[in-house]
Symmetry: C2
Subunit: 317 residues, 2 copies
């Protein structure tokens, strides 16, 4: 920058002004500066600016997911980016692998790199250590699962309502004996909510956490299945097909899947809006950075039943 200044025959401040587009600068000088920048291949050091800038803002935020490679989280990431992009804010992204220690490392890693905010799919149960950072002005938003030990903005899918809707959809098609198939109780918020939604809507609960095959081949088979999670849905689908029951036992899955429309019968799902989750989280975050100072807000996004066939099989008496 010094070089640019001397080459253009101006002071550092002038270079800084043109680089940052701070208005009061003579067009002629500005042009000289631009030329020098071009010639020297000067690249502005935004980080150094952050150090000195009054606001201290870095136009950088951090995202922490269970796994950046998981399409669900990748979609959230994309949603966040869409709104961040409008402000020229760039995103760090990392995977906690559902490991609280790793999550902590990542948080410290991005905070040490002076992000303006943090969007977190929480894995640890205690985030009280972030209170100091929030007090120091950092934005903090939780996505997909609520915070437990800190009062922070968060955006969730209506998991409970979605599960309820799935079951009610099946009941509307005459089913009474509807089984819940989901991951073993794992302390995960979304899993618990979906189970709760199922329990809300069903008269006689029938919950299975592992292999469904015994249930399907045993006596008194359920006439419909609600699978509460992506991988479970896929696994159950496989079982159903292997047993040749796909046209007999109705099925609704939580979360949409590629090819869900191409299998036979096509799979009815309760879809959530991952992109919307990301967008909403980013919006909450930026509103804080813009000075909003009210108490923690909660945004809950609805789910949507997508009828494709498997969920509309009538209960055979």
């Amino acid at each position: 920058m010094k070089d640019v200044a001397s080459m253009a025959g101006v002071s550092l401040s002038t270079v800084s002004r043109v680089v940052n587009g701070s208005p009061p600068v003579d067009p002629e000088l500005a042009a000289k500066v631009e030329r020098a920048i071009e010639l020297l291949g000067y690249r502005h050091n935004h980080t150094a600016g952050t150090l000195r800038r009054a606001s201290g803002l870095s136009s950088t935020i951090g995202l922490i997911f269970d796994d950046v490679g998981n399409p669900f989280f990748a979609a959230i990431h994309r949603g966040v980016e869409e709104v961040a992009r409008e402000r020229s804010v760039v995103t760090f992204a990392g995977s906690s692998d559902a490991d609280p220690e790793r999550e902590r490392e990542l948080v410290e890693g991005v905070l040490g790199r002076r992000v303006d905010g943090l969007i977190l799919v929480p894995t640890a149960h205690d985030h009280s250590y972030l209170k100091r950072d929030v007090a120091a002005g950092i934005g903090l938003v939780f996505v997909d699962r609520p915070p437990e030990t800190i009062d922070a903005d968060h955006v969730l899918t209506d998991n409970r309502g979605g599960a309820r809707a799935a079951v009610e959809h099946l009941r509307a098609h005459g089913h009474e004996r509807i089984a819940f198939v989901g991951p073993a109780p794992n302390g995960l918020y979304t899993a618990a909510e979906r189970l709760a939604g199922y329990l809300d809507a069903v008269a006689e609960p029938l919950v299975v956490h592992d292999d469904v095959e015994p249930l399907l081949t045993g006596p008194d088979r359920p006439t419909a299945l609600f699978t509460a999670q992506n991988l479970v849905t896929i696994e159950v689908l496989r079982t159903l097909h292997r047993l040749g029951l796909q046209d007999t036992v109705a099925h609704v899955g939580f979360d949409d899947i590629v090819l869900a429309g191409s299998i036979e019968p096509a799979l009815t799902v309760v879809a959530q809006d991952a992109l919307g989750l990301g967008r909403a989280a980013a919006e909450l975050l930026f509103s804080r950075l813009d000075g909003f100072n009210g108490r923690a807000r909660q945004v809950v996004l609805p789910t949507r039943v997508i009828e494709r066939g498997s969920g509309e099989l009538q209960a055979s008496s």
Copy 2:
């Protein structure tokens, strides 16, 4: 940091030393410093360190994809992260949306934030503007598509070989009339390679870029289909099922898909290793940062045929 120093009754240098784990420091003083850090809730500013540090390294890299929300790129991202993590290197990630201008903005955005390296799925054709940055010591690696105007390390999938393998697989099952279904020529490297691989392996090419239905319902229908891209595969699958031809016309797709094993017949694919692409790219990058200074390297990852049924249908005479 000043506060920590005065609270611990030591100098800034000492605090810096314990924070960075630079050996020669009295354990007793170190303990005092740790305590002060804890009490004050001090958060080290890694960015400021980068500014002064002799190496100038930020332990930060930038990734630019077409779309961070696309599962293929998300998997690459994950692969990169796996190796970056071992060095406590944190990753920026952004989406170019296949727009050269947007790509440029993103590149400038992360370079301005002083990343040590850049991993790029290139969209623009000219990246010569990066030569200066490479000369300045930044690491640069291209993934999935090779660079055109700059000599840089890159890692690719063997798209051509994979396409050839798909066709040969079909030929081995008695097919001679094999159609290629792929995106319209779009200047995309991977698309061109896959078409080339098909042309390598087939005697009488039959190429369709849009709707396959006319071909399938017309006279002299092909006995097998090779679909060269994910979305095309899904679309064709739908068509095949709608026409009831899924058990008649053999089909191999490029790229694996969720549920490919659950449809009927299950879909045979040529799978590529997105995770491996990311890992290899990161390794090339870090070897440069570690001082490797040889000429640009190319890594080509093989594909793998996954037989599931649709590709093993015999040609009916």
